[in-house]
């Protein structure tokens, strides 16, 4: 039954896309895959390679995959050949293979998600100069690669402001994944944001050394909360799920406990749900989905920004805070918005590195 419904929905999408596709502008046939006459949906396919996290990491990779799905839906594409797809890597050695596999399947644009893939994208790009690639969180200087960077420090600055305004114990925690430049931008922005509100607040900074070890995140969070920290901002991907787990445990034991987590990358509200309450204060959004969609759109319109580096900051709405759903009162929200405006207007520049 559900299958039939799905099939119906699928054919509806297809039908709709045929109609929409007809009004689409003429695009260069890059693949020359035979069916030159009629077009179903747009003639553009896009795929991405994740790191070891996978598309259900509730964070970075998931956000990218949601971007691709949204792009596909918008343009009447389906998952799989000639539409959109992803491959997950089991180890660092798999990046090259996965990128190559997707290129061999004739995807018009292939994303490498994450700085870890920099060397692999660089290598494949020079081997396949006719194919278009894109990389998130790193710069690859090749004419056929579009690079995307985020000003994580700006979003994290707001997270820091929010945490500083909301803390009662004057102790805040930061849990990082690996100690790498990207995560340092989170840390630097966060510290700066806290300092801007109240320099006397102590921030406990801990790096777990991994993005996929929830148990490490849990023990770190446990130590922080028991030392009096009441708000933890995590920039640790899957490791951060352990931070949520610990906060939820505390909240289950004592529903009045004042413990909060600030999520990262995507809106992690659902991750923090405990019964009727929630431990998610807000999430620092890094709109990888927006970036993926934008680059795909440009490429589909034959305006692929090859060789360019696009930077998404607060002004470009590439980073920001998620809806707190009432966890942050309106008057505090208004203060945060003021800080946001200052950054977007260029009045305040947030440092990328910790001094």
């Amino acid at each position: 039954m559900t299958k039939r419904k799905f099939g119906l929905a699928l054919s509806m999408v297809l039908a709709a896309s045929t109609i929409l596709g007809a009004c689409g502008t003429d695009k260069e046939e890059k693949n020359g895959n035979g069916s030159a006459g009629e077009k179903e949906a747009i003639d553009f396919s896009v795929a991405m390679v994740t790191d070891v996290g996978g598309v259900d990491d509730k964070s970075f990779n998931q956000s990218a995959w949601e971007g691709l799905q949204a792009f596909g839906k918008e343009n009447g594409l389906t998952k799989g050949e000639g539409g959109f797809d992803y491959l997950q890597s089991a180890s660092d050695a798999d990046y090259n293979t996965n990128l190559n596999n997707l290129i061999r399947r004739d995807f018009d644009l292939v994303f490498g998600i994450g700085f870890l893939m920099q060397a692999a994208v660089d290598e494949i790009a020079s081997q396949k100069p006719d194919n278009h690639l894109a990389i998130i969180d790193a710069v690859v200087e090749q004419p056929n690669v579009a690079s995307v960077l985020f000003k994580e420090q700006e979003g994290s600055y707001l997270a820091g402001v929010a945490a500083a305004l909301m803390t009662k114990s004057k102790k805040i925690g930061f849990v990082g994944g690996m100690d790498i430049p990207v995560i340092e931008r989170f840390e630097a922005g966060f510290l700066e944001g806290v300092k801007a509100v109240d320099p006397s607040i102590k921030v406990d900074v801990q790096y777990t050394g991994a993005f996929d070890k929830a148990e490490l995140g849990k023990t770190t969070a446990n130590r922080m909360y028991s030392s009096g920290v009441d708000i933890i901002f995590h920039a640790a991907g899957g490791t951060g799920n352990g931070v949520f787990a610990e906060a939820k445990e505390l909240k289950t034991k004592d529903p009045d406990a004042y413990v909060w987590v600030i999520g990262v990358d995507s809106d992690q509200y659902e991750e923090g749900a405990v019964g009727d309450t929630n431990v998610t204060l807000t999430s620092m959004l890094k709109r990888v989905d927006v970036a993926v969609q934008n680059i795909s759109k440009l490429a589909a319109e034959d305006k692929f920004p090859g060789g360019e580096t696009t930077v998404y900051g607060l002004a470009e709405e590439g980073v920001g805070l998620a809806d707190s759903r009432g966890a942050i009162p309106d008057d505090v929200m208004a203060q945060i918005d003021e800080y946001a405006k200052k950054i977007a207007d260029g009045e305040v520049t947030v440092p990328e590195t910790v001094e």
Binding site: Q88, A90, N98, N101, A119, M178, I180
Partner: protein
Amino acid sequence: MSNRLVNILVPVISVILGLIVGAIVMLVSGYDPVAGYAALWNGIFGDVYTIGETIRQITPYILAGLAVAFAFRTGLFNIGVEGQLIVGWFAAAYVGVAFDFPKYIHLPLALIAAAGAGALWGFIPGLLKARFKVHEVIVTIMMNYIALHTTNALIKTFSDGGDNTGPINPSASLRSEFLENMTDFSRLHYGILIALAMVFVMWLILEKTTRGFELKAVGLNHNASEYSGMNVNKNIILAMVISGAFAGLGGAMEALGTFEYASVKGGFTGIGFDGIAVALLGANTPLGVIFGAALFGSLKYGALNMPNEAGIPTEIVSIVIAIIIFFVASGYVIRLFVERFSKKKEAK
């Protein structure tokens, strides 16, 4: 039943059994096992590119397997191959980046550095075992963590806070344009020749030298060896050093061939731990390690194509691959039983 028949039948049956159970897993989870296995096959032997990549994947497995097997033959459980491989990886990358010599000096130097680093990492647990009877399993496991985080810190210092040593100089690289062109830009490199040479070296040491005989004797019964005048402690240390050197070379394969750099790692590579299974599958013999590594490497690499071509999720793929390896390993157990059984009969 003739011995030869058993030898051929056992592995064939166990592989078929593994494939059947794997197929059931795929069927139950709603995926097409035929498409899945076709994708696995194509992922390994599909074209020159995948064949090249499969061989590349096998290369470090051979060396990791040799490292474990060599220690096993001397009665030592070297669980620290992972750590020895990581320090070897870093040492090779460091020499590759920091120096600039002609190829015939640079490449051997990088390889020696990797082997030396691995040997040092094996020497410490060997010494502790020989001198203070500290169990090598505990020490080697802990040395893995020390290796991981020390190299991470070194890479950071080395690259001024970055996460990568940067690419090694071409003069230290194992890669060759010839092999790459032949295999449509796969990362196949000359490391496979080194790995095979090491297989020969291990065979030579164990079977053709007095020292090898002593090492094996210590492994079989160290009391008897001591009684017959062998220096057990020295042999334990030596076995760990050689084992570590093999593992270090395995790291060099990654540093000088596959990646051409060393980067900060969030966790273990897993190659060293898989090396334990490779060695056991190969019955701790040099030739057996080649087969174990070939099985492990090709399944690991071919598995990547299953989500790609047949749309099977990675989780299911991992289960299927684990089942196949599990059955192959139990096939070895079955054979062991059969052999023991027939030996007992002969004795009577």
